[in-house]
Symmetry: C2
């Protein structure tokens, strides 16, 4: 069997995540493993909670990381909050919002979907009308749609959900750490993200936060959460019980990486990190325009960390991505679902979000596309 | 906020897992992250599948790792194979078998439990009688009970399950890599393990294998698996679809660690690794006896990698563990459930399973217990 590990390329990760990781985070991940019930490990978990509350700008007690990837965060929020037959509205304008519906549907939510074109933001007035038409227990939507590059008006929909008394669930997988996000002020009851995009740690963890009101809903469930691994009431006994109760063997080295990645964000300052993402994005848009490439999303609704380029007519999508990867060691993302073949997805996330990386990418694109 | 990471102890991990990790595995985990759809990463995943089939001694096509810890492996097997109302027997003689029942119960299995005393092996004749009393769709049990140190006769119960036509589910979280395990010959339909015990990688992954027959049951489900993240039919499209279909962002650096840990086992030779575990265990039992400490489990039923010591009368359980950790930087485990305060759990798993580590531990115990 060939040793694949010894010949891995070092790739500049400019796709939809994972993003490029700093040497300090790798070093943290290679520190000696501690047991999941070790007092020092508990201190580290306390530090993760404290840092997450700062980066997430929330006072929620139930702010932890799930020991699995971002998709498990979606699963966690749904499996804890959805009870069979509850009316739920999901606002869909991309692949990941559609996945929210898939996950909630499997768990027995009585689903309504309000759909908008992929690549366009949701229409707040239409959503307001829909919310007024039925007493929804839960409303779910995506903050930054990884599949399209659209930033949705979470604050406005949050206010509508609050007025209606519904639990408001937000996917912040792509947005957290790259744009401002105010769960408490915006009326968010549950939010999930991931480690490998703007947070700047490899994939493997999913930060989540639940409002006190959401936790009360979980404690008052008629049936136990049909998922032991992701049961928030058990997880909270491990994260902050007194004494802490064993639940699962936390992936210590992943936690080290997350701890360090969060520390780096707090050291730089979350606002400055957001600003860095915005600047890299604006620079990318300007540089692309110079070579005749344009973004799919209209200006005020663009995600800074996930840029969707319209593939010019006559250009071979896969061939360009293959050449970027093989000749230039750059990864960019393909389109998902109905946008497959029509767009490229350029990530400027976390450690990747720098002008010099934009230059490397646009330089390569110029050569490949001969522009 | 104090920097917890910079002052972590290096601990000799002799508890119930995680085990001590080799420098080569840490180095693998610190290699540059690749995207989850990168061709080199797909080669690495192929390598993991190939290595897992060798270490697990199975020909099952559906042999992969779940992107979460061992507990998620239990969840995966149950959520895919259990359909609501199906009669299921769980053979319980420890904490983790009881957890199997908890997980399956949450998913709606019509559960029967046959229970044996913790610390004793299951009685095969009793189980045979129970299996003949009802047409069970599923039978579950634990191979090596982490909570008690008992090795259960999986081969014999597997034969009974096969005769009865039931799907046979086995927890090999502690046993895999440390004792021989023959899923195909023993009639196992689904088996889950973890990365952090005898495999010698940090926690974070859960290797699983499903027989073709088990996969057919999943494909024929009346309702979709009520868990998108752990749905085996979707996971197999990512692991071996043509083309591979995106499902979740695999935790690349954890996969690197598992790849390396499996390669180290195959390099040493699985039989030799089992032998090393057996030798370390026998040496520990002999050394303990010299200082008047005895194992809970009778000789033929002892797990080599998880040794349960009866705490002598008058000895303060927690104080001894605290002193081992603080003065000697050794972690051992406490008793779980009904065995709390009555036993210590000594892990000799993976890289930890060496005579020199036994000497370090028994040397420290001698001093602390003044024997």
């Amino acid at each position: 069997m060939p040793d694949v590990l010894s010949s891995l390329d070092t790739v500049l990760l400019m796709g939809p995540g994972p993003s490029t990781i700093s040497a300090e985070v790798y070093a943290a991940m290679a520190k000696p493993t501690l047991g999941h019930m070790d007092p020092q490990f508990f201190s580290l978990m306390d530090g993760i909670q404290e840092s997450l509350r700062k980066v997430m700008e929330t006072a929620n007690a139930a702010t932890i990381t799930i020991s699995a990837t971002g998709s498990s965060g979606m699963e966690t929020v749904m499996v804890n909050l959805v009870e069979e037959g509850e009316p739920m509205l999901i606002v869909v304008n991309g692949y990941f919002a559609a996945r929210m519906a898939e996950v909630a549907g499997r768990l027995g939510a009585a689903l309504d979907i309000i759909e908008f074109p992929y690549g366009k933001p949701v229409d707040v007035d239409e959503v307001a009308k829909k919310i007024k038409s039925k007493a929804y227990t839960l409303i779910g939507m995506v903050h930054g749609e990884t599949s399209t590059g659209v930033l949705n008006p979470i604050d406005k929909i949050g206010a509508l959900a609050k007025e209606a008394g519904a639990y408001f669930i937000v996917d912040a997988v792509t947005s957290l750490g790259g744009v401002r996000l105010l769960p408490d002020a915006w009326g968010i009851d549950a939010l999930y993200s991931c480690s490998q995009k703007c947070i700047g740690c490899p994939s493997g963890l999913s930060p989540v936060t639940f409002s006190d009101r959401a936790m009360q809903k979980i404690f008052a469930r008629k049936k136990k959460v049909p998922n032991f691994y992701l049961d928030m009431s058990l997880l909270m006994k491990y994260w902050s019980g007194s004494p802490r109760a064993y639940h699962h063997t936390a992936p210590a080295n992943m936690y080290y990486g997350l701890y360090k990645a969060l520390a780096l964000i707090l050291e730089e300052g979350p606002e400055k990190v957001h600003e860095r993402h915005a600047q890299a994005h604006q620079y990318l848009a300007a540089e692309l325009e110079k070579i005749g490439l344009f973004l799919l999303v209209d200006e005020p609704h663009r995600l800074p960390m996930l840029n969707t380029i319209v593939i010019p007519a006559g250009v071979d999508d896969a061939a360009v991505r293959r050449e970027l990867r093989s000749a230039y060691k750059i990864e960019i993302g393909s389109g998902l679902g109905s946008l497959a073949g029509k767009i490229w997805r350029i990530g400027l996330m976390g450690y990747t979000a720098k002008k010099e990386n934009v230059d490397i990418l646009t330089g390569a694109l110029k050569k490949i596309l001969k522009r």
